[in-house]
């Protein structure tokens, strides 16, 4: 069977593109990695590399064709030993010299299919076969680099190799683990323990001081040293944004009831000082219990659906932030969560958290409400599958029973790792969360 070469999606949002140029012609031998054609999108012109080896048997979408839908067959590749006869069974190829037809017709013909496809498999990458730039999951690294990565807790998937053909070598791991070359041995031994969260730096071109100064146009500046916390934040969040496909869901929660109950609880003279955030933690934990699919992490082998909700809460501290964890929050009452959180927060600011108190977790919360932020999107903290960004509770006009009313509204945005949590699951979680926040008595049960 000839192999279909499909119109690739060169970005997650791309739905169609223009076939700018055929680099290979019919009859040309094609090796994996050869540039076969150039595709133009609204953003850029990109080269498409062959994934399979064989002979370019038939060009179906001619050069210059505009608006070619993603996943449309653009050419056929014959594998070695296959004869052109095999083409007979192929779906009606459009001849190259008629560029006007493919330009419009296939677009229409493909339209329903293109719409149908995303539903069952939302945001799925185009089929590996014929898709460009799919180098598979294989990570090329030297044996020494692999072992050092394992010892340093560095994820190879996030490391850019500097060796031949992008192979990851020893020096890349040293850079990723933030270890200076030939550092004193004891420091090296400590590194993995102290910072297993220091995942790989997806090192792009090195952002040296000189380069950044030049990019900014030689503006005068003051140097502030990169603390190790700064470096961890930079690495983790860069890794997250580069490797985790984020999407965002926002929901508005009315919290007048919650505020009322909070005031009641805190005025009971039992020394309680429950914060809105404590309610948010409790509600998140209960919602995760209700929608366990949202309490999950991606691994290349399997999806890990966590049996408990360990909730990491971002706390701003001098020079950065840290995320102490309320473990098994679904099993803890508001009072417990509140006192634990106060203790963790105080010790976080004093720099006295134990490793196990801020490393790990299954879900995170970042609350900027106290700064008057209305709403924002947070960056997922791997390996968590989602993070909830909580805005300020503020009085807003709302429509109730067809009339304008005033309510205290808090907007919450869930950032979701699409590899593990799909839109509907994320929405189910937020629905459960909103239900708990707006009916806070149910949280007290």
């Amino acid at each position: 069977m000839p192999i279909d070469i499909l119109m690739p999606a060169l970005s997650p949002t791309m739905t169609e593109g223009n076939l700018a140029k055929w680099v290979k012609q019919e009859g040309d031998a094609v090796k994996a990695g050869d540039v076969i054609c150039e595709i133009e999108t609204d953003k850029a012109t990109m080269e498409v590399e062959a994934v399979d080896e064989g002979t370019l048997a038939k060009i179906i979408v001619a050069e210059g064709t505009q608006g070619v839908k993603v996943n449309e067959v653009i050419a056929l590749l014959l594998e070695e030993g296959e004869s052109a006869d095999a083409l007979g069974k192929a779906p009606a190829p459009k001849s190259a010299p008629a560029p006007e037809n493919p330009k419009t017709e296939p677009a229409k013909a493909e339209a329903p299919k293109a719409e149908a496809a995303p539903a069952p498999k939302p945001a799925a990458a185009p089929d590996a076969k014929g898709a460009p730039a799919d180098h598979g999951d294989r990570v090329f690294a030297t044996p020494l680099a692999r072992r050092m990565a394992e010892q340093a807790g560095v994820d190879l998937a996030g490391v850019k190799g500097s060796g031949p053909n992008g192979r990851i070598v020893k020096s890349d791991i040293e850079a990723a683990a933030g270890k200076p070359k030939q550092a004193a041995a004891p420091a090296v031994a400590e590194a993995p323990k102290a910072a297993p969260t220091v995942a790989a730096a997806p090192a792009a071109a090195a952002l040296t001081k000189d380069r950044v100064v030049a990019l900014a146009g030689n503006v005068p500046y003051t140097e502030i040293p990169n603390t190790s916390m700064r470096k961890v934040i930079a690495k983790r969040l860069t890794e997250a944004k580069q490797t985790v496909p984020h999407f965002y869901l926002t929901v508005d929660c009315e919290i007048d009831q919650l505020l009322k109950i909070r005031a009641e609880l805190n005025s009971r003279g039992e020394g309680l000082k429950i914060s809105v955030n404590d309610f948010v933690i409790r509600a998140s934990a209960l919602a995760l219990k209700k929608v366990p699919a949202a309490n999950a992490s991606w691994s290349d082998d399997v999806i890990l659906q966590w049996s408990q909700a360990d909730i990491a809460v971002a706390v701003a501290i001098d020079g950065g932030l840290i995320t102490p964890i309320i473990k098994q929050a679904e099993a803890k009452g508001l009072a417990t969560i509140s006192s634990e959180m106060r203790d963790l927060g105080a010790r976080a600011k004093a720099g006295k958290l134990k490793l196990e108190e801020f490393q790990g977790g299954t879900f995170s919360i970042s609350n900027l409400g106290m700064f008057g932020i209305k709403e924002f999107s947070a960056v997922i903290n791997p390996p968590h599958g989602a993070i909830l960004a909580v805005g300020a509770g503020e009085q807003r006009p709302v429509v109730k029973n067809g009339a304008l009313a005033i309510a205290t509204v808090m907007s919450c945005t869930l950032s979701v790792d699409h590899r593990v949590v799909d839109g509907a699951v994320g929405a189910a979680f937020l629905k459960a969360f909103k239900g708990l926040i707006e009916d806070p008595l149910s949280m007290l049960l």
Binding site: T142, R147, M148, Q151, K170, A185
Partner: protein
């Protein structure tokens, strides 16, 4: 004189320069190469190659005197030193002709003369080429690679005179064989000459300033080598210096001080091999940004000198003074000029070979240097006496030592002494360059029966798993 313009001018036609020129030609540069004496440089004409030809003959002589062990009988074995030298010169000439052919094939324009940096014009470097004080050509190019090499370091009071006191060059073309010889310096060059002359029956004494012979090698290898040399009859003085030499008509009396004790020996000839100095004079470095430290040009990781458009490679930029290091630097410099992605040289991946008897070869850190660098090490050893092929060959003297990082399993160094180790070492060099750990080396299947099996066993031994010892 009309200026001739090129993309690149390479100054020096040794293993650094000619390799750089060919690589540049492959990258479609129009290249000029200026050489003042011989294409192929010292390596090919007065170093690596002719000495290997000489050492081959001395090895044969050694074998001819030990035929009995193999069941042969040969009487009245003799040799003609003139013929031995003649063969060595022919080997050098053949290879120099080969380099000339390669340069021609790659369309490199070769100029016979000495080159000098001569300022900048219109963004191009200017180079003046002269021969015997007369101008030969004026060249211009965007970039210049200096590869002028090095020469023997002279010892005060023991300057080479071509008669009684020899440098490497004189030692390579003896008209007759001395009866006795003093070799000053026990680095690779000194030890190779000591081995050559000793195997032809000369009474050889080696004086080394450091506390061991072959001082750059692993201490265990140095000790093994010394024992082996002394068993063969070489006289060795370490932690020793030559205090004084008195020349007579056809002999030299040298006063040697060894750890406070003084002795006087009289020899027919003296070979001085105490290192080299870079050829950094008369090439127009004055008035440029190029810095010279300890007779060597200072360069960055990509061989750039700091002077726009000027790169320097090989012996003139410092140790290790090895042809293959120069060639590799030539490639790095050219690819940097061509705007390609290049890698900085990793000195611990450069092998070194000494063709004495027994041969010595190594790559990477010695055990002592690995420990000094903060590594916790695992060390493996395997002796030639435990290897079937070595016993069959009648070459049972030797040792293969490997040094691993205990934590990561990185092969930090390999140190070998014994028959054919100069060929074996490349196995470890490939392993090091590919960053294998002990695990891949252990899983590799080594052919039986070969000397290379010892390389496997040495690795296994580092982890307490050697099979045959």
């Amino acid at each position: 004189m009309a200026e001739q313009n090129f993309d690149l001018i390479v100054v020096g036609g040794g293993p650094g320069g000619y390799v750089a020129a060919i690589r540049a030609a492959q990258l479609k540069m129009n290249v000029a190469l200026v050489e003042r004496e011989h294409l192929g440089g010292i390596c090919l004409n007065w170093g690596c190659i002719p000495t290997k030809a000489l050492l081959r003959t001395s090895e044969i002589n050694h074998l001819l005197h030990h035929l009995d062990a193999y069941g042969f009988k040969a009487e009245n074995v003799s040799f003609d030193i003139a013929k031995i030298v003649d063969r060595s010169r022919k080997v050098a000439a053949q290879l120099s002709g080969g380099v000339k052919h390669l340069l021609k094939k790659n369309k490199v324009t070769v100029f016979d003369g000495s080159a000098k940096l001569d300022g900048v014009a219109g963004g191009n470097r200017k180079i003046k080429v002269e021969k015997d004080g007369k101008p030969v050509a004026d060249l211009t190019a965007r970039n210049v690679i200096l590869a002028t090499g090095a020469r023997a370091r002279q010892a005060p009071g023991m300057e080479g005179d071509g008669k009684l006191i020899w440098t490497y060059k004189d030692a390579m073309v003896p008209k007759e064989l001395p009866k006795s010889l003093l070799v000053v310096g026990s680095g690779a060059i000194g030890i190779e000459f000591a081995s050559f002359y000793h195997n032809l029956g000369v009474d050889v004494t080696v004086v080394e300033m450091m506390d061991r012979v072959l001082p750059v090698e692993d201490e265990e290898i140095s000790a093994f080598a010394r024992k082996s040399f002394e068993k063969q009859g070489l006289k060795i003085r370490t932690s020793a210096t030559v205090k004084d030499v008195k020349k007579a008509a056809s002999a030299v009396t040298a006063t040697i001080e060894t750890q406070g004790k003084t002795e006087s020996i009289t020899v027919d000839r003296v070979i001085v091999a105490i290192g080299i100095v870079g050829n950094v004079e008369n090439i127009g470095l004055e008035g440029t940004k190029i810095k010279v430290e300890k007779t060597h040009v200072v360069v960055d990781a990509h061989l750039f000198t700091g002077e726009p458009g000027v790169y320097a490679i090989g012996d003139m930029v410092g140790p290790p003074w090895l042809a293959h290091k120069a060639s590799h630097e030539g490639i790095i410099a050219v690819e940097t000029i061509a705007g390609m992605k290049t890698h900085a040289m990793d000195v611990t991946n450069i092998p070194g070979c000494t063709y004495c008897m027994p041969q010595v070869a190594s790559v990477g850190l010695t055990e002592a240097k690995a420990k000094a660098a903060g590594h916790e090490v695992k060390v493996g050893r395997f002796p030639y006496i435990g290897n079937g092929k070595a016993i069959a060959m009648g070459e049972t003297e030797g040792l293969i030592k490997t040094v691993f990082d205990a934590k990561t399993g990185e092969l930090l160094g390999a140190h070998m002494i014994g028959a054919e180790v100069t060929e074996l070492i490349q196995g470890y060099v490939v392993a090091k360059n590919l960053e294998t750990t002990e695990a891949e080396l252990m899983e590799t299947i080594f052919a039986h029966p070969t000397l290379s099996e010892m390389m496997h066993e040495s690795v296994l031994d580092a982890y307490g798993r050697a099979i045959h010892f």
